[in-house]
């Protein structure tokens, strides 16, 4: 049976499933680095997120009396992976489950399922968790191979106990096994009147470590290198276009460069901004989420610039140390408007 008989009668062969799988593949380097740095904690976190997301998608589709076939398109699994990569290594298990349910149920299915959500589901869930549980969401486990770790993250039973019953179950306090992220550190130091350069010196910050990922942070955000590999793969495969990542990163870099030149004591350098926090993950994987970003090239450029301005502003003046997630979420709201005003010039008009 053929439902539609209208031309064209050949197809390029691209599919939603292939798109989702390619993004999951692109996230693999970051996922591998996260397991290298955070051991079983990262593995458990990623597995739990992906399984919960897929299960939530399946259950909500069945509850709505819809066919469960969309579960197979891989979008729920991708949401789970993205959410996991933006979480700190140690989060209580129920918080992970709650976040995954929020992502699929509130972030996606309530809007009408795939293709209808206004916000990136993983990002929306991440923000809801951040504002609901600010303490847990900003405590960063000291990664392996960085400084002295008080807990062996390659020990499966320790990690499982930690996730299920908290740090006390393995005889540690939370403070003993955590450290501040570079962005968080300069924010707290600035509030005490200590300048950026000074703060970074006391943090023992190195650009190379930040590039490779040997620093505290969300499990998938630390390694700029791994994320760039994935991002370049997506660009080469034409899954994403260059417009959003390039304009986003360029805007942050330019703003940072200008203000860093004017007042280096207060404003961090462009390279620090690019390598810090979730910027690269957001630029290549969150802001480029097709559903919640503009469809036209011009629109994507506007979107990227908007994200860049907001990210830098929130980081420099906001209450939170990291602004990339908020920036993308806020720009998501503007997408219908951007789409309307940024249409390309039609042939002959």
């Amino acid at each position: 049976m053929i439902i539609n008989l209208s031309s064209p009668h050949i197809h390029g062969g691209d599919s939603v499933r292939m798109t989702m799988i390619s993004v999951i593949l692109a996230l693999l380097p970051a996922a591998i680095v996260s397991v290298y740095l955070f051991g079983w904690l990262a593995f458990l976190l990623i597995t739990l997120c992906m399984v919960t997301c897929v299960a939530t998608e399946y259950i909500s589709l069945r509850m709505m009396g819809r066919p469960a076939t969309p579960v197979g398109d891989g979008s729920a699994a991708l949401t789970g992976l993205l959410l996991a990569l933006t979480l700190p290594a140690y989060v209580p298990w129920w918080m992970v489950v709650l976040g995954s349910i929020i992502a699929i149920l509130l972030g996606k299915q309530l809007y009408g399922g795939l293709g209808h959500n206004l916000f990136n589901p993983a990002l929306a869930a991440r923000i809801i968790l951040l504002v609901s549980f600010p303490l847990n969401m900003t405590t960063w486990i000291i990664p392996m191979h960085v400084g002295t770790t008080m807990v062996d993250l390659y020990n499966f039973s320790d990690c499982l106990n930690l996730v299920l019953f908290g740090p006390e179950s393995i005889g540690r306090t939370l403070d003993a096994i955590t450290m501040a992220s570079p962005l968080g550190h300069i924010k707290t130091e600035w509030s005490q009147g200590i300048g950026v350069t000074e703060a970074l010196r006391s943090y023992d910050y190195s650009y190379l470590d930040a590039f490779l990922g040997r620093e505290a942070g969300s499990i998938g955000e630390t390694s700029a290198l791994a994320l760039l590999i994935g991002g370049i793969y997506l660009l080469a495969r034409h899954t994403i276009s260059w417009h959003i990542p390039f304009t986003y990163l360029a805007t942050v870099a330019i703003l940072a460069a200008i203000f860093n030149t004017v007042d280096p004591a207060h404003y961090a350098s462009p390279l620090f901004h690019l390598l810090a926090g979730g910027l690269i993950l957001c630029a290549f994987f969150m802001a480029t989420d097709p559903v919640s970003s503009p469809v036209t090239s011009t629109g994507r450029i506007v979107f990227g610039i908007g994200c860049g301005i907001l990210t830098w502003s929130i980081r420099s003046y906001g209450g939170y140390p990291e602004g990339a997630m908020f920036a993308v979420l806020l720009m998501n709201c503007a997408v219908p408007l951007i789409d309307h005003y940024c249409r390309p010039r039609v042939y002959g008009r």
């Binding site: 009668h9 798109t19 293709g115 010039r345 008009r349």
Partner: protein, 516 residues
Amino acid sequence: MLHTLLRSIAERPGIFSGGIEPEMLKITAGSPIATPPIAPIYIVPIKQHIGEVCTPIVSVGEHVFRGQKIARSQGYVSVPVHAPTSGTVVKIEDHAIPHPSGMGLPSIFIEPDGEDSHDESLEAICDYRGRDPGELRERVRVCGIAGLGGAVFPTFIKLLKDQRNPIETVIINGIECEPYLTNDHRLMLEKPEAIATGLDIIMHMVGAKKAIVAIEDNKADAAEAIRSALNSLPDMEHVEVRLLPTRYPQGSEKQLVQVLTGKEIPARKLPMHIGVLCQNVGTTFAISDAIIRGRPLTERIITVSGDALPRPGNVRARLGTPIRFILAQHGLEHFEDTHLLHGGPMMGERLKNPDIPVVKSTNGLLAMHSETMMKAHKVEQPCIRCGHCGVACPVSLVPNLLADQCRNDQFEKAESYNLFDCIECGACSYVCPSNIPLVHYFRYGKGQLAQITRAKAFADISKERSEARGTRIEREAAARAAKRKTVRTKHMPKPVDEKSSEEKSDISADPKGDGL
């Protein structure tokens, strides 16, 4: 200002925005054009072009010669239809034509006598350079030539030597960017001299100084053949054969003009408004046939191909040949699990039955396996707004937004998003990862909008008419009242008749009673 700036940046020759590179599958490129035997019956629809329907001028039982006019054109945008072979008219009745709706059109059924004798009433014009362009143009019209690239717009209309819009450049379109189709390719290989002559005739008719023959680089042999044919003609130094990189839909008039001249055809304008005339190679060949040999259009080259066809090839098919007959010549007699396509796979329509005849717009016949079609027509999934459709669109629309509007019946909004600029090339549907039949939505939207416009025009006319009627009734009533007044004043001095005259005027004052 910004608009003009953007446009001047965009307008540069050599490229068109968007486009796709589908697998070309030109499996018949090496098959010489075959001439099939005479079919047992020919079914000639009385309209095979864009424009007004023709009127049959033969009656049942009448004998006709090949090339004899059997239906005369009516109106300006129309060309006559000719008999494809000599024989007897057996019936004139409605028959299905290649149209997605499966709709019928009056058709003339001709039973061949096997002689295939020509109607020789048209003289051959070999000294066309010395003839008046108007005379040649009339010949092109009389010979029933319409654009054989697929649009079948009456060709003579485009061949006008217009002082207001002088043609500077003639473009001969040998792009053939649709997968599978090789009819133009074979024609250029086998009849390059006739095409060169046709081009010379066209240049003389419109007074053009320059010409470009555009061919895609997967047909380099055809370009070579055309080049050497042009060299053998005098005064052809301003004719250029240009090899272009293969890209769909480069053969579309708008895109080809953009690639070759760097100019865009303004919206709702024709190529002649920017001094360009585009002709397909098949049409060019038909023009040369009509002038040099005095032969009306009774046959055309078609590619018979597809993955379900045992022996694909190119044929010189007479207009009116039943498609079933042609496919049987290529080894296809049973149509289970097979879908027939009229035209190429990107823009062709699916035929519901094989008894439909070949018409002037038939550039290809494809027999496809059901599985192949199933692969291309998967169940639609939600749009993930990836924007690939917008990248592929050669006219820079935003197809996914347009499709949303058409699906939600927001037709006015779709129109403001330039729905009518869509050329229905199918590039958006081809790249869509969600298998959304975007072009289908656009056709639906265009159809609905056309209906809305018609309904609105009808309502406007009705309103105007009813208003006119109202003013007419008022005017008549006023006229009657005035008349009554004069009659009254005339009869006033006679007080005796007062009562009777009042009664009379009461009757005439009733407009309804009067009007009926």
